[in-house]
């Protein structure tokens, strides 16, 4: 398969050249931040580090970390490095965890972000002949604006659908022959399910590729979406704190995401000690924005647990790869002292022949955590006998216990009774607020 690149010199640059480029950018960026962001200057001063100590990427470990707590403390302008008059845009996180992040962009920041998204679209096979349906939410959420901008840069005919109104999504997809779909994986699965119900076969659907991100998803879910929609499904990674989607993207190999490391310098650290871990080890992903002007976070701890690897990729890109995050530490639940990632539940469901439509409900009764999982009944498994349904519930609970080490109460519920938000799926309801 012939490969296309959006910015070939960067995407296929030799490792030595890339490191040299990163070093040059880092030195400049640290000066820019030190001079313009008192909040970070204080952190550096406390650590006894000055911009002169940073001579290249080998000195990166000397810099202090930024965390989500810093973003909250510095809200809204505390980490801004440019005068507001030089900024042209803000984007914000969904704030579902109650910790809204507001990020600022200069025109150059927007441009570079859109370039990153364009790289992702081209890596998924996109060209200016494609019709790109962007069904991420538009607005403060970065998904819609990011992919919209990337799609423009590639020259695709862009359908700015935003999320929701599935009937209209399907109508536009068919009438205008959309070939690329960009949305959250849960919404892609929902669109796929709806198409299937309406009698569409994968070969009837004009789509050829999908770029799905903004929430964790498993390989099983990828296979599921690929089969239902008859497409190749590519992962894309990003976070509002660093720009939005496009920090990393998948190529035709579909084995991890290339990080746009000319803009985002990645490290893996031990989340407990903060120590930098060697390549290939699992730990918390940390990003340093090398080019951002308005909101340049240095050593930002993403709370995503993953692994980095650099090796020859069949797509020809030399950009370092990150594995699909094993879960965000934010998503991780600690139930009866055991770490539980919703993605583990999803894996069990797909293995057992269910759709990944579930909801985890955690509460506390008599000083013990209660752990319930509601799962939508699968048409294949449903029978007319109560005892059979109870057996299915027990089998699911056992499979989850094997995976997690703790026993959930599994309830099978009617199809489509679990609310699907058309943006991000609400998978976890944690009622344990009293401490």
């Amino acid at each position: 398969m012939s490969q296309n690149y959006y910015q070939k010199e960067i995407e296929t640059m030799s490792v030595e050249e890339m490191k040299k480029l990163q070093s040059e950018k880092l030195v400049k960026q640290v000066k820019h931040v030190y001079e313009n962001v008192p909040y970070y200057r204080n952190l550096m001063d406390e650590k006894g580090v000055t911009p002169d100590d940073i001579k290249g990427i080998e000195d990166l470990h000397k810099l202090p970390f930024l965390t989500k707590a810093d973003l909250r403390d510095a809200y809204p302008y505390g980490l801004l490095a440019k005068p507001l008059e030089d900024c042209v845009r803000i984007q914000s996180t969904s704030g579902t965890t109650g910790r809204r992040v507001v990020a600022f962009y200069t025109q150059k920041d927007v441009d570079l972000w859109e370039d990153c998204c364009a790289r992702a679209i081209v890596a998924a096979g996109g060209t200016k002949k494609d019709v790109c349906q962007v069904a991420y939410g538009y607005g403060l959420f970065t998904g819609g604006p990011g992919l919209n901008g990337g799609s423009h840069k590639v020259g695709c005919l862009t359908l700015p659908m935003s999320s929701g109104n599935t009937e209209r999504q399907i109508q536009f997809m068919n009438d205008l022959g959309a070939t690329i779909l960009c949305c959250t994986p849960s919404y892609a699965a929902y669109i796929g399910e709806t198409l299937k119900e309406q009698g569409y076969k994968p070969e009837d659907i004009p789509l050829k590729a999908g770029i799905f991100g903004a929430e964790p998803w498993t390989e099983e879910m990828r296979n599921n979406i690929q089969d239902t929609l008859g497409i190749k499904a590519y992962d894309i990674y990003g976070l509002t704190e660093t720009s939005g989607p496009g920090v990393a993207f998948e190529c035709s190999e579909q084995t991890g995401m290339h990080i746009n490391e000319d803009h985002f310098l990645a490290e893996i650290i031990d989340p407990d000690t903060g120590e930098v871990l060697p390549e290939g080890e699992k730990g918390e992903l940390v990003f340093t924005a090398l080019d951002k002007e308005a909101f340049p976070l240095l050593r930002y701890r993403t709370r995503d647990i993953c692994v980095l690897s650099r090796g020859k990729c069949s797509c020809g890109r030399t950009l370092i790869k990150m594995a699909k995050p094993m879960g965000r530490t934010d998503d991780m639940l600690i139930i009866r002292g055991v770490n539980v990632f919703p993605s583990q539940i999803e894996t069990v469901l797909l293995n057992e022949g269910y759709q990944p439509n579930y909801q985890i409900i955690v509460d506390r009764a008599n000083n013990t955590d209660t752990f319930e999982v509601n799962v939508e009944m699968s048409p294949k498994q449903f029978t007319d006998k109560v005892s059979d349904v109870l057996k299915l519930e027990k089998a699911l609970a056992n499979a989850m216990k094997t995976m997690l080490g703790i026993n959930p109460a599994v309830h099978l519920v009617a199809p489509k009774s679990i609310v699907r938000s058309e943006g991000k799926a609400v998978r976890v309801i944690d009622k344990r607020k009293l401490i």
Partner: protein
């Protein structure tokens, strides 16, 4: 020999049965017999209707999880001991009844029992040999 039973998976919460019967009523489907097996979480609604195909279609369209299974409908005289006699027939040939429910016809002085067994053929034959009348799909629409 067997008749069709519609089986609907529903949540065990207020209003779910009504929403099912309402859909059937709006589509002119008449319910002959109905039984519910429930647990704390869910219920399984079992229905014998005059027009099984329409019922299945309209409920599926509304997103209900439906399964159609074959059950036996046995006509039983409206007098004490008749049900026991029928069950005895099955007991003697070691056929386990998963569940059963009864209904009355509007016109005749008869009770009917819906029996769910694993082997409809063997159970049905045994009942007929013992003199019981099994109802058919055609009978249902006339009841």
């Amino acid at each position: 020999m067997a008749i069709k039973q519609l089986t609907v998976f529903v949540q065990n919460k207020k209003g779910t049965v009504v929403s099912v019967t309402d859909i059937l009523a709006k589509n002119n489907v008449n319910i002959r017999a109905l039984s519910i097996a429930e647990t704390e979480d869910f219920g399984i609604l079992r229905l014998i209707v005059n027009d099984e195909a329409t019922a299945e279609k309209v409920l599926s369209e509304q997103g209900y999880l439906i399964k159609t299974v074959d059950v036996l409908g046995v006509k039983i005289g409206d007098e004490p001991g008749k049900l026991t006699a029928a069950l005895d027939v099955l007991d003697k040939i070691d056929i386990n009844v998963e569940y059963l429910y009864a209904f009355m016809a509007r016109t005749e002085k008869h009770a009917y029992v819906v029996l769910r067994v694993e082997d409809n053929q063997t159970a049905g034959t045994a009942l007929e040999q013992a003199g019981f009348h099994l109802i058919t799909e055609a009978d249902i629409s006339k009841l």
